[in-house]
């Protein structure tokens, strides 16, 4: 069994070489064959300046560079064929978990598990960060219907098959455990201890929040409705049409029996608008169904585990 330790180097931290040497130490102690693959995502120059300082890693370490930064999902997919490991350990730009926890994560990878996701049960971050992280995790948990608790930790341990089979794109790396569950992989979450989170604290920029919400929605739609879009659109569409027609009914009742004039009532306009909105959404659903039928036919959603 070969382990590939993939380091996603995206931010420049001064203790980078200590981090790598430490990582090397952890996996040397585990005693399996391993390699360390660094993906310098827009940080190639930074990596080069540190390179000479750990010559002892030499043969075990390889590095790749994206001059123009890409997302984690894209870089992982691109580097996957360069790695040899049967088990991939994916780490971030700095040491997020304690050595012991990192080892625990690896050890949790038994025969029946396909992916191990760490759960930082006791957070040691500023309370505001903890709060927003909790909210994010909670929303994700509800939306994708898993019992996982922690999606924001970069560290993941998974079988090669998981990354080979899942079409990760965009910002989907964060949701790898959720997508893996949807694909039928056995995902295990284990509680870990972590180091202080680096990077930005306090409020993120508006676009950060917005893109996070959109990502969650994308995952929601892709995992649940990509093969039956009509269900999703008609749920919304019929809802709008229903409200619109109900309001219209109220107005007609008033016009007929109470003899109120309705021509200048804003409610009339609202009911008309809602009905039309419903029709538009359902129309988009029809198009979605046509796309699913014509273009998605070669892609079956089921995964066969065994055949006899």
């Amino acid at each position: 069994m070969i382990i590939s330790v993939i380091v996603l180097l995206e931010t420049q931290y001064s203790d980078f070489q200590e981090y790598l040497i430490n990582l090397d130490q952890v996996f040397r102690n585990i005693g399996e064959a391993y390699e360390i693959v660094v993906i310098a995502n827009g940080t190639g120059n930074f990596f080069r300046t540190h390179q000479e300082r750990f010559p002892e890693l030499g043969a075990r370490m390889r590095a790749f560079e994206f001059v123009t930064p890409v997302t984690q999902a894209v870089s992982l997919k691109a580097i996957l064929k360069e790695t040899q490991g049967d088990i991939l350990v994916i780490c971030g730009s700095y040491q997020q978990l304690t050595n012991q926890s990192l080892e625990d994560c690896f050890r949790a990878m038994d025969a029946t598990t396909d992916l191990v996701s760490p759960w930082r049960e006791k957070r040691i971050d500023p309370s505001f960060n903890q709060l927003q992280s909790r909210i994010f995790n909670w929303i994700t948990r509800c939306v994708v219907k898993t019992d996982l608790h922690d999606f924001s930790c970069t560290v993941k341990v998974c079988r090669r098959l998981v990354l080979e089979e899942i079409d990760l794109y965009g910002n989907m790396f964060r949701f790898l455990p959720a997508v893996a569950v949807a694909r039928g992989f056995k995902v295990r979450e284990i509680p870990v201890e972590h180091h202080q989170e680096r990077g930005k604290t306090g409020f993120y920029s508006f676009s950060e929040y917005a893109s996070r919400i959109l990502d969650i929605f994308t995952i929601f739609f892709n995992t649940r409705f990509s093969r039956k879009p009509m269900r999703f659109f008609s749920f919304i569409g019929i809802g709008f049409i229903g409200i619109g027609i109900a309001l219209m009914g109220v107005l007609f009742f008033e016009r007929l029996f109470l003899e109120t004039l309705i021509g200048n009532r804003p409610m009339f306009l609202v009911s008309l608008l809602l009905t039309i909105l419903g029709v538009l959404v359902s129309g988009a659903g029809l198009l979605g169904e046509i796309i699913a039928f014509t273009n998605g036919r070669q892609k079956q959603e089921y995964v066969i585990e065994k055949k006899i």
């Binding site: 694909r183 039928g184 992989f185 093969r227 039956k228 009509m230 269900r231 008609s234 749920f235 019929i238 004039l261 021509g263 200048n264 009339f268 306009l269 008309l272 608008l273 039309i276 029709v279 538009l280 129309g283 988009a284 029809l286 198009l287 169904e289 046509i290 796309i291 699913a292 039928f293 014509t294 273009n295 998605g296 036919r297 070669q298 079956q300 959603e301 089921y302 995964v303 066969i304 585990e305 065994k306 055949k307 006899i308």
Partner: protein, 350 residues
Amino acid sequence: MTVLPKAIHASKEKMDESSKQSSASTSYAKETDMDLYLSIVVPVYNEEESVETLIVQIVEAINGLCVSYEIILIDDGSTDHTWTIIEMLAALYPHLRGIKFRRNFGQTSAMVAGFEHARGKIIVTLDGDLQNDPADIPILLEKIEEGYDIVSGWRKNRQDHFSRVLPSRVANYLISATTGVRLHDYGCSLKAYKADCIKQLKAYGEMHRFFPALASMTGAQVAEVETLHHPRRYGVSKYGFNRIFKVLSDIFAINLIIRFSSYPLKGFMLTALPFIFMAFFFGLLGVSAFIFEWTAGKAPFFMLGSALCGFTAIYLIVLGVLGELVVSTSDLTHTHLPEITKKEIHMDKS
């Protein structure tokens, strides 16, 4: 045993021949390449109690027919010992094959996987919960030999609670009325298909109920025969209650696909028509209100309504054009489906 049509006898002879060949070469690979007459596809989900009885019943029903066959059990991510039992049974019954899904992907996926792996010229599907009686399979096959492409079972005396029978009646009526493929019992899993008709469809989502309607895209001839229905012996029914809405939107989707997946613009144009009429109607009212100075309905209001309906119509037509783009960039296999069921007319050359 029932009187068998010629074709079954013919295929029996063929089977004898090919089995001689395969026994000569004694390799399993040869045998898998063999063309079979019948594939029986059964999705099972947590059916550890009934799997064995099911296989025994099927084998009993088929053996009398003397046809080459295989049984494909698809374990749809069972959480009990279903798969272990299938593996054990596969050692006992050489005709049995099994496919195990990594998780529960639903009945449609299970059936589609079964179709993909089926090697028979005719595919029969049935439920894994013993509610269908495998003894009915020969009746379905006879009907297929009469020249029909799809034969559906009809559970005339359904052994379910009224609360399940009634919604299913309504659904059957709606599907029959809207798709034009009139069947009493779309929900009956016991169905027989000519393999070409169903393999090409590549169904997805939750369409297993609609296979006969969907197959009408190929121009398939559909018939139905009465079948037996037994009450559930083991376990509980695997259906939820919130199905009404889902089935309704599925009926909607299936009609769209059957009618308009080859000409989406036409479909969207039809949807847009009422809005075009309304736009003109409101426009006319608005103009009259303006000219005759009506007080009740104010002119701007009518004009606004007219504009909104007009926008909707235009938006729908734009979606239709987008639909045409999607269809023309797709693999387009669905537009050639009728070639499966084409039949040559033998000319009278006297």
